[in-house]
Every structure is written in C-alpha cells, then in structure tokens.
C-alpha cells in the first residue's frame, strides 16, 4: 500500500491548503514519517510524486530540517533539550542520567528498537526545564525519577 492509498483524505486536505504543490512537501513528509517511521527512500519518492518534485529536491528538504529522520528510529524518539536555559537548570546532568537509564548515548537507539535518545536545541519551554519531547509531545519539568518512570511505562513493564 502506498501513502496515497493509506492517507488519501489527509493528502487531499494538505494539498488544498496551498496554491502550489511544493508547499505541501513538509506536511506530506510528516505524514510519510508517521506511516513509515522515517523518511525512507520509498517515502521520499512518494512525496516527490505527490508534489511534482524531483526526489533529490525532497531529499534535500529532509536533510535540511532536523525533525525529518533519514534513518530508522526507535518506537519512541526522546528529545531532551540541553540548550543554555535548560542547561542552567541541570539539563546536562539530566541528559547523562537519560543515557545511563537507556544504556545508550545521545544520538543512539536502544538495541530493542524501543527508544532513540537525542539532544535538541531550545524547544520553547524554558520555564519548565529540563524539558523533553517524546514523539513530539512535551514532557515538562523532568526529574531523574520521573524520567525512569516514564521510560518504564513506555516499555510496558509497569
């Protein structure tokens, strides 16, 4: 099944918002990423087809923006901010804790394919630092214990 088969209604809505097909490239990449988990070559070709672009042009968009993944990620992508405002509230030590809990370094995926840990630049929630996003959903005012609990819940072991 292609993206077109699976998400035709969503694709229609997205394309209807813009006077050019090209403007739909980012929303369609998000859609593809939801379906395939990352922007695979196949996903890129399909988006290129939908937007009447060359696959190379779509690939360059994927490469430019940090939220499009060029490789398979874990089921949960945990993105912890370690930019200055969060770091002033202990984000570096917090990231270190996350790495120990998950047994991987930032930028890596756990061997079971469950979690990808990444560090990110400021995500506009500095009033509730340290802050992270799990699959683009905010997790505010994190503590080491809170992080452990969250990971255990996502693992399904709690």
């Amino acid at each position: 099944m292609t993206l077109k088969d699976k998400r035709s209604a969503d694709i229609e809505i997205i394309l209807s918002k813009y006077p050019t097909k090209r403007s739909a490239v980012m929303p369609l990449l998000y859609l593809a990423q939801e379906e395939y988990g990352y922007c695979s070559d196949e996903a890129i070709r399909e988006v290129a087809d939908l937007t009447a672009l060359d696959p190379t042009e779509v690939k360059s968009v994927v490469g430019f923006y940090t939220m499009f993944f060029e490789e398979k990620t874990g089921q949960y992508v945990i993105e912890v901010c370690d930019d200055l405002p969060c770091a002033l509230k202990g984000a570096d030590a917090f990231v270190h804790h996350c790495e120990r809990k998950l047994g991987v370094r930032a930028g890596q995926t756990t061997p079971d394919g469950k979690f990808t840990l990444r560090t990110v630049m400021c995500i506009a929630a500095c009033d509730r630092a340290p802050v992270a996003q799990v699959n683009r959903e905010y997790r505010y005012s994190l503590t080491p214990d809170g992080f452990d609990k969250m990971v255990d819940e996502l693992k399904g072991t709690v």
Partner: protein
C-alpha cells in the same frame, strides 16, 4: 498586571474555548471591523470599518513588532501595494530563540485572540489567505490552534462571506520541522514554499514580493495578539500602557537561574530588569546575578550593573544590548561564562543554514576554539582568536543569524575577559573533568562535524 491584555488565560480560565472567549469580548473587534449581520440576526450587512481604518488604529496605537525587530506593525502593513492581489498574511510562530516561550503560551492557552489578530490583519490588508507558521515542535499547540480554527469556522467567524459581507478569509496552520533560521522572515517564506529555510536577498521586501512572490505581511504571533484589543478599545486606550516610543504591554519570558521562571506581561518601560527578576521569584538561593541575556542567545550579555535598566526597546539598547523578543535568561554567579558562551555558540553553529560563508564557517571555527578552551587546551591567545573570528563575521553575514552569533562571543569577552583568562589558567590541564561528558556527547552527535580539536575520542 491587574488585567492582562495578552495572557488573558491567567485571568479567565479556559479562555481557549470559543464560547468563553466570546463571552469575554472575544471576536468583538472582528465584528466591529468587518461589520455585517449581528449575531442576533438582521438580514442586511451593516456598519464595519474600512480596511484602512483598521490599519490606521494599529498605526496610531504605535504597536511595534514583538518578534525581535520592534518595527511598527501598522507601518509594515501599509507598505503593501493596494492594487496587487492576492495578498498573504504570514504569522511567525517559529519561536526558536533560546529562552523564548511566549508564543507557546499564547497559542496553547489563548488561541482565539491570536486567530482574531490574524483575521484583523488580513482584513486590514485585504488578504484572503493567512498561514500561521509554527515551529515543528509545536505539534501539540498546533492541534489546539487547529481546533480553535475549526470552531471559528463552524461559528461563521472565518470562511466564505463572513457575517454576510463579501469578505472571505481562510487561515491555515503550517508546521516547520526544526530550524531556527525559519524565524527569519524570508527564510520562513522559503520554508512555507516547501524549500530549504534559507533567507532571501532583500529587496524585494516581502511587502511587495513575499509568499509566492505576492505582497505579504509577516508578523509575530504576539504582535498580532495585540491587535484585537487595539481595534476594540482604540489607540488611546492602548497607549495608556508603555512609553511614547514603546507603547503597550509586552510579554517577558524569564528563565535560567531564577526560582519561578515564566511569562510576565508588563507595560513597556515601567519596570526594571531587577524587578522582573523579583517577579520571577528572585535568583536561586538568592545568589548574585552575574549576567543577563535580554533576548536569549542573540542579545549581547549585560553585566549585573545593568540590573536597573528599564524594560523597553530604547533603554535596553542604551544599556548595550537589545530587547528583541524579551526572553530574559538569567545567569547567577555559579555560572561559568565560558561554558555559557560555548553553549550559545554551539546553538548558532547548529542552526546556521549554510547559505553564506562568514556564518557557516565562522560559527564552526568559533565553536572549535571554545571546544579547545573548554576541553582544557586553551591559551589566552585563543581569546583574541575568538574576537578575530567574530569580527570576521560581523557585518558580513547574509542575515542576522550570523550577526547574532557574534554576540555571545564579543559581549562575554568584553564584560568577562578576566573570567576567560581564569578559566584557561585553571583548566589548562588537558583534561577539564567538569565538562568532558558534555563535550564528548556533543562530539558524538557532531561526529560528524569533526570537531575534534584536542579532544579525546
């Protein structure tokens, strides 16, 4: 403030819901402007304001852009050629300056006021399509905003022939995907057109050739959230807040080493930085303030001697920095300035779009020098090297990102040079245990960017 103009969610619970917003003057300005049939009925369109009247009241109010530049909003709108269609309104909700989280609160907790502001701006310039560009990480706030838009459409506030008039308006939400540069207005337009977010050469300015090469207004979320109360209550009412040159209220984001970080909406020019920090619960453990970043990483740092600076565009500028988006990051005496400067430079290196050489190379080399110092291999000559690199960028970059990137370097060295010297003396052991973990982590991520100078693998 007794009653908030923007952060009304602090006064009125659940104002994000359409009925509650409407029960509190919501969309009253919109009805006043567009005219047309009253909600209680009546067959013929009536009343309303001319588009230029809406523009006029915003001009008279002296509303200045809240995204950073502080350019008068009404004046910006008036630059659009009258007889060229279609026109577009694009809302900048990219909010990626480190320490900024005001638009986040506005969109999430008071979305209808944002929508009403966008609608009024669109009406004033006679655009029939508007795009609200939110940073990709605002996936959840975008859902809240989309629901608010759906409700507004269902209530006949947006869409075709609004209030029975011949004015129609569509507002769409568009998500970015993680690129600070897209907060630069022309890069944002490129991104919205489905291209890489890299800034355009100006002129032509967006007012003449913006989105899809059509006349376009680009305003920040907070700027437009000011418009409904201005149109409803008038310019004179708005000018009771703030100063002659900086009228109105502004949201100040406070983060860093304070007890109660958050957004504080205050009249411009009435309070000082010291008072703002007090509102944010004071510094942690009451430690002395070492430095203040008035607009995140982009603003030159101010030393503690600037604590009594008034909070308006002119005063902060006179003190040697910029008010910008008013995202105050507070550093106390526990913070290592060299470490903080490195964090900021790392940010700009990460976010440089790569279009122009001074920024792309300058941020790269500045970070390498910081890594050398922080990893314990620095010499005092490296301080001059940093100044050299920054001077090699200043006034030579294609857009402000590269210019901003020189701020953390030059301003921290200007005010805290002895700390750099001390840091280098104390850490010049080739080990620098304090920051090793961070450096290795950044290095692992940037592996990639070969930032290996003097660092163990």
């Amino acid at each position: 403030m007794e009653k908030h103009v923007l952060l009304r969610d602090l006064d009125i619970p659940n104002i994000r819901e359409l009925d509650i917003y409407q029960a509190n003057d919501g969309y009253a300005a919109w009805r006043k402007a567009v005219g047309g049939m009253k909600p209680e009925g009546g067959m013929k369109p009536e009343g309303g304001m001319k588009p230029e009247e809406v523009m006029g009241v915003v001009k008279d109010a002296g509303l200045r852009g809240r995204g950073g530049a502080g350019f008068p909003a009404g004046l910006k709108w008036s630059f659009l050629p009258k007889d060229m269609f279609p026109k577009y309104v694009v809302v900048n909700g990219d909010e990626s300056e480190a320490g900024t989280f005001k638009d986040h609160q506005l969109v999430e907790n008071n979305p209808h006021q944002v929508i009403e502001g966008v609608a009024l701006c669109s009406y004033a310039v006679q655009a029939s399509t508007a795009y609200i560009y939110l940073r990709g990480e605002f996936y959840e706030p975008a859902k809240t905003l989309q629901k608010a838009l759906d409700d507004a459409y269902a209530a006949g506030l947006l869409g075709k022939n609004i209030f029975g008039t011949n004015y129609s308006l569509d507002i769409h939400v568009h998500l970015g995907a993680g690129a600070y540069i897209c907060g630069e207005e022309t890069a944002l337009l490129e991104s919205l057109e489905g291209k890489l977010g890299q800034p355009r050469l100006r002129p032509p300015f967006p007012a003449v050739q913006g989105l899809y090469a059509k006349p376009t207004v680009i305003n920040n979320v907070e700027t437009l959230a000011n418009v409904p109360p201005i149109v409803l209550n008038g310019a004179k009412w708005y000018r009771q807040f703030g100063t002659e040159k900086s009228p109105g209220t502004k949201i100040f984001c406070v983060s860093g080493r304070v007890n109660k970080p958050g957004n504080f909406e205050l009249p411009l020019g009435q309070y000082t930085i010291r008072q703002l920090i007090e509102m944010a619960g004071g510094t942690i453990d009451g430690r002395p303030v070492k430095g203040i970043l008035p607009a995140g990483s982009s603003a030159p740092i101010l030393p503690a001697s600037a604590l009594d600076t008034k909070l308006d565009y002119e005063s902060v500028q006179a003190a040697g920095s910029i008010l910008g988006s008013a995202s105050f990051v507070i550093l106390d005496d526990t913070v290592d300035i060299v470490w903080a400067a490195r964090k900021m430079v790392r940010f700009f290196k990460h976010e440089s779009c790569g279009k122009c050489t001074p920024c792309r190379e300058g941020t790269y080399w500045a970070l390498r020098v910081y890594d050398k110092i922080v990893s314990g291999h620095g010499t005092t000559r490296d301080i001059d090297m940093l100044v050299d690199v920054a001077n090699g960028m200043a006034n030579k970059c294609f857009c402000l990102l590269g210019e901003f990137a020189t701020s953390p370097v030059l301003s921290t060295i200007k005010h805290f040079r002895p700390e750099y010297e001390q840091f280098i003396r104390e850490h010049n052991d080739g080990k620098s245990g304090d920051y090793q973990d961070e450096l290795i982590r950044d290095h692992a991520i940037a592996v990639l960017s070969e930032v290996t100078l003097g660092m163990p693998h």
